[in-house]
């Protein structure tokens, strides 16, 4: 269960990081300024969409698609990853955009003055300078993914066995909490186990907090 939680989080983070970076680079470095006026409110809207809607979106689009591709029910780790990816991508993109914007314009000029192409400037100066901001965005996105409950619970299938494949049903810490707490009696061993899980979740979110702190501090130096 914990393995699934981490697996889903890491997968979603690993997929979102490069894509958020690509979108952010396209918006800040390549597309003209006017495009920003269209993208900014759109990304803000996507950040604000509730996670239940993302979960429902996964239920109506991702799960059937996976079902067609791999057979089985379609519920499982891959579906959860897809939903979390959709959910954290806007947040990560907007944070990455902020950190790319924070790179002084004079770096770009100086690099161009030395004969760098735009791509050379982006890959050698802009992204390395924004490294800590991008790192913070990634950890932040993964923390959100780790703590997300309902969206995951809706598409992961909810069976307490160790999954053997990416399209097998599974559970995460959060999904078991949402289904379990209400269906067990206070004080029973099962219920107590669930509260321990909640504690683990709480501790994990503190660990993510610490990581975010480290990541942003590294950049401040």
């Amino acid at each position: 269960m914990i393995v699934t939680s981490f697996g889903v989080t890491l997968l979603a983070g690993a997929v979102s990081l490069p894509l958020a970076l690509v979108v952010a680079v396209a918006i800040t470095e390549i597309l003209p300024g006017k495009v920003k006026l269209v993208f900014q409110p759109l990304i803000e809207l996507l950040v604000g969409i509730p996670s239940v809607v993302y979960g429902y979106l996964g239920l109506t689009t991702i799960v059937p698609a996976l079902q067609r591709l791999f057979g089985g029910t379609g519920f499982g780790i891959l579906a959860a990853t897809g939903v979390l990816f959709l959910m954290i991508l806007p947040t990560m993109t907007s944070m990455t955009i902020d950190s790319l914007r924070a790179v002084p314009q004079k770096y770009r000029e100086a690099s161009a003055g030395l004969g760098a192409t735009r791509w050379q400037t982006i890959s050698r100066v802009v992204i390395p300078s924004a490294r800590s901001g991008i790192l913070t965005a990634t950890v932040f996105g993964m923390a959100r993914a780790f703590g997300e409950a309902l969206a995951v619970q809706m598409v992961i299938g909810n069976t307490t066995v160790m999954p053997t494949g990416l399209v097998e049903s599974a559970t995460t810490l959060t999904s078991v909490l949402t289904t379990g707490i209400g269906n067990t009696v206070m004080g029973t061993a099962e219920n107590n186990a669930l509260w321990s899980l909640a504690l683990i979740l709480l501790l994990m979110s503190l660990v993510f907090n610490l990581l975010i702190h480290l990541a942003s501090k590294k950049g401040a130096r």
Partner: protein, 293 residues
């Protein structure tokens, strides 16, 4: 390959991938709206939900969501404002203040399900509120407070230091400067922050399952006495919100038209959030222009 060629190829790939992602995300959004909007009707918005039969509406859920937003804002705006004024205007720069800030930051990153369980333990069980709107509003306040505090602080910080000095130079007390000069100037930022956070509260579900509950008992919209158990204004009644409704219908629901109900609800949810966003933008813009004059 020459650097110029790599530059061309890289730019093309970046634009292509970015465009593709934009297209996919946008089409998903449009897809869900297109599924839901045809289902939104006057009947859908104004009739109560069905437990087992098709054709249920979302009247109670929609009202509960809005009412919960109002309740939460009533609790959290004064608290956030008070915290922001303290942190930005009065707090000394010492270890204790830094600790306070850290605590707020940690609070803001708690998973919403953890906040929900905390609310369940403390408000619902310990304080004996049972599943109620009030317990939900308090739990949402915990979730909302750090974010709202930060946006209030940002708004206060935008007020130029010179204006404060001018006030103090005229012999006004610090408190008067804060209430008469700083707060009015920071008002647009505070309002924008509150509206945006309203959007977030509106769509929150995980916090509410175990605080405001998942049931929508019969309520009467003609009973204006907030202490009557069936009054729509009674904060002590359990209440299922729109976001919780979507989740519940899909994971535990028995209604035959779950898809149609969720499609409609999801569309209503997105449209409402969009409205909150637009209003926040409009208000921020409008007041900024007003101040610039």
């Amino acid at each position: 390959m020459s650097p110029e060629r790599i530059d061309k190829v890289a730019s093309t790939i970046i634009l292509g991938v970015a465009g593709l992602i934009g297209l996919v995300v946008l089409s998903l959004l449009i897809y869900i709206l297109a599924l839901g909007i045809p289902h939104i009707s006057w009947h859908f918005l104004t009739s109560e939900a069905e437990s087992f039969a098709a054709g249920g509406g979302i009247r109670d859920q929609l009202f509960n969501s809005l009412y919960l937003v109002v309740l939460t804002l009533i609790v959290s705006v004064p608290l956030a404002l008070w915290a922001a004024i303290y942190l930005n205007e009065y707090a000394p720069d010492n270890q204790a203040t830094r600790l306070l800030r850290l605590a707020i930051e940690v609070l803001s990153s708690l998973p919403s399900v953890v906040v929900g369980l905390f609310g369940y333990l403390v408000f619902v069980l310990k304080f004996g509120m049972d599943f109620s709107l009030l317990a939900g509003a308090l739990a949402l306040t915990i979730l909302n407070l750090p974010i709202l505090t930060r946006s209030c602080e940002d708004a206060l910080r935008q007020v130029p230091y010179l204006q404060r000095q001018a006030g103090l130079g005229l012999g006004m007390s610090k408190w008067r400067v804060t209430t008469k000069i700083v707060l009015p100037a920071a008002l647009p930022g505070i309002i924008t922050g509150a509206i945006l956070s309203a959007g977030r509260i509106f769509g929150e579900a995980a916090t509410l399952i175990y605080t405001a509950g998942q049931s929508a008992p019969l309520i009467s919209y003609t009973d204006w006495n907030p202490f009557s158990p069936t009054s729509f204004l009674n904060p002590m009644r359990p209440a299922e919100t729109l976001a919780v409704h979507i989740w519940k219908v899909n994971s535990e629901g028995l209604v035959p038209d779950a898809r149609a109900v969720s499609n409609g609800s999801a569309a209503v949810l997105i449209i409402t959030i969009l409205l909150f966003n637009l209003v926040a933008r409009y208000v921020g813009h409008r007041i900024k222009r007003h101040l610039a004059k």
